[in-house]
Structure formats: structure tokens, C-alpha cells
Amino acid sequence: MESTSLAEQERVLASDWGGGKSPFGTSWSKFMMWIFIISDALTFAGFLIAYGFMRRVAPAWPEQMEVFSPVLITFMTFVLISSSAVMAMAVSAARGGDPKSATKFLGLTILGGAIFLGCQAYEWWHFISEGATLTKNPWGVPQFSAAFFVITGFHGFHVFSGLTILAIVALRATMGKYSGDSVENAGLYWHFVDVVWVFVFAFFYLL
């Protein structure tokens, strides 16, 4: 049975999807990182949608800005956005064949991430010392602390893994063993961590 004409087959084979070509126009490692980021984004989408659902069905919801310190949250957001900007500069320097600047910028990115994690540890400690656990809290809305611990916990763990990846890349850069691609892939992951925080900041703390 002849379902497609010869001309049609030739047209498909000559297209980007005909095989032997790169439809996404990236290196395999960068494409893999993007696939990972997209699947990870779905995880956080699930968390945030579940949070939205819980919040709407909850009889009440605590005033977040009275429970958490707005100054601390703003500072954390400032630090993470700044580290993301510095990371972009690290990628630029690495691609431009300037390992010295790349290492310096990577160091600053790591510093930002570490400060962010420190602030988060303080926030958790403060919240737990007020009596909040995964299943109960003084405000009488169990979903509130459950959502907080799960969402910020998963995000915090991503920051921690990001720091580990960045530390490895920075260490390799100081030894001269690095490529623009490896810095860029680590950077993509770091920006993704920033993107997730932008959502958490708006939906969990501000809305």
C-alpha cells in the first residue's frame, strides 16, 4: 500500500526531523539539561497546584507576611536573583575564553547560593521553634505548614544540589578542565532554581 508519495518521503527526510540532524540545535548535554529542567518544572507545577487546591479548600489561611519576615524573604529573593545574574556572566566569561573571570563569577554565584541556604535554614528553624510541623501548627491550618515544608524543602534541596554542581564546575575551572558547555549547563540549572523561587515568592509568600 502506498500511503505517502516518494516526494513526500523525500520532503520529510530533508526536514529537521528526518534523522541525522539536530532539530533542537543544541549539544546533547545541553538538550539533556533542558529535558531535565522541563520534567523538574512539572514536579514543582504539581506542588504549586496542590498548594493552590489545599489553600482554596482550607477554612482559613494565616497571613504569611505576619508569620514570615518580609525583610528576610525580600533579601533571599535579592540574593538569588543576583546570583543568577552573576551566573549568566560566568557563562559569558567561560564562552569568551576567560577562565579567571569565569571562576570568579562562579565563586560569587556559590556565595549567593550559600547565603540563600543559610537564610532558609534560619527561616525553617524559626518556623519550627514556633511549633510548626508537617502535620500541625499554631495557626490551626495543617495544610499551611505542610505546603511550606514540602515546597521550600524541595526548592532548598535544589539549591543545595545546584551548589554542589557549581562547586564541581568551579573546581574544574580552577584546574583549567572546563568547557563553555559544562558551565552553561550548570548555569541553566541554577537559573531554573531561580525561576522556581520566583513562583514560590509570588504564590506562597505574596498572594
Partner: protein, 119 residues
């Protein structure tokens, strides 16, 4: 490999993006912290600011602006699926909205046959 001049133009653009991101964060904070707007408008504004920030980070920091459209379209899939998921679950919450419910009282269901059933 990029030339030195190109790298420095890149730095300037990253710096400007950083400034815009900070500005949008401050605006979001003002909208979220001071309750001067009705809830609906506040939600729409916060979602819009968040999306604007995501687009900036994605296009400039993650270089999606210079990537092929195939990859760019792929990155929209989580956002589209989130919107679908949101509207699926949003409908479910309408029946249990606390403002429609009397506390500590088992809700009664009226069956299509007219029979009244306890939950």
C-alpha cells in the same frame, strides 16, 4: 569563541536584566504586602509580574532568545500543563469553598430523585 567586546555587551545586558528583575520584585512586594488592591486584581498582577520575570530569566539568562524555536516551544509545555491542571482542580474547589459551607455540620446531598442523603 566570542570576542572580548561581545562579552562585555553581554555583561551590560545581564546587569540591565538584573535591575529589571529587582524592580519587578519590589513592585510585586508592594502589591503583596500592602493590601490596597482587591484580591482578584492582586492575583492577576502578581501572576503577570511572575510571568514577566520568568520570560526575562528564560530569554536573557537562559539564552532562549538565541535558541531554535523547537527548544523554545518545548519549554512552554510545563506552563501549559500547569494551566490545564489549575483549571481542572479549580472547579473541584468551588463546592468546598468555606464561604458556602457551614462548619461542624454534615452537608446534605439532594439526589436527582429528590431523595435527601447524608454525606
Amino acid at each position: 569563541m566570542e570576542s572580548q567586546g561581545h562579552v562585555h555587551t553581554g555583561y551590560k545586558q545581564y546587569f540591565m536584566t538584573w535591575l529589571w528583575l529587582l524592580l519587578m520584585t519590589v513592585v510585586a512586594l508592594i502589591i503583596g504586602y500592602f493590601h490596597f488592591l482587591p484580591e482578584g486584581i492582586k492575583a492577576v498582577l502578581l501572576v503577570s509580574i511572575t510571568l514577566a520575570k520568568i520570560f526575562l530569566i528564560g530569554s536573557i539568562f537562559m539564552h532562549l532568545r538565541t535558541e531554535r524555536i523547537n527548544l523554545v516551544m518545548l519549554t512552554f509545555s510545563p506552563l501549559l500543563l500547569s494551566i490545564v491542571l489549575f483549571f481542572f482542580t479549580f472547579g473541584e474547589t468551588l463546592g468546598t469553598n468555606p464561604t458556602h459551607q457551614i462548619q461542624n455540620q454534615s452537608p446534605l446531598f439532594v439526589m436527582p430523585t429528590g431523595e435527601v442523603k447524608e454525606h
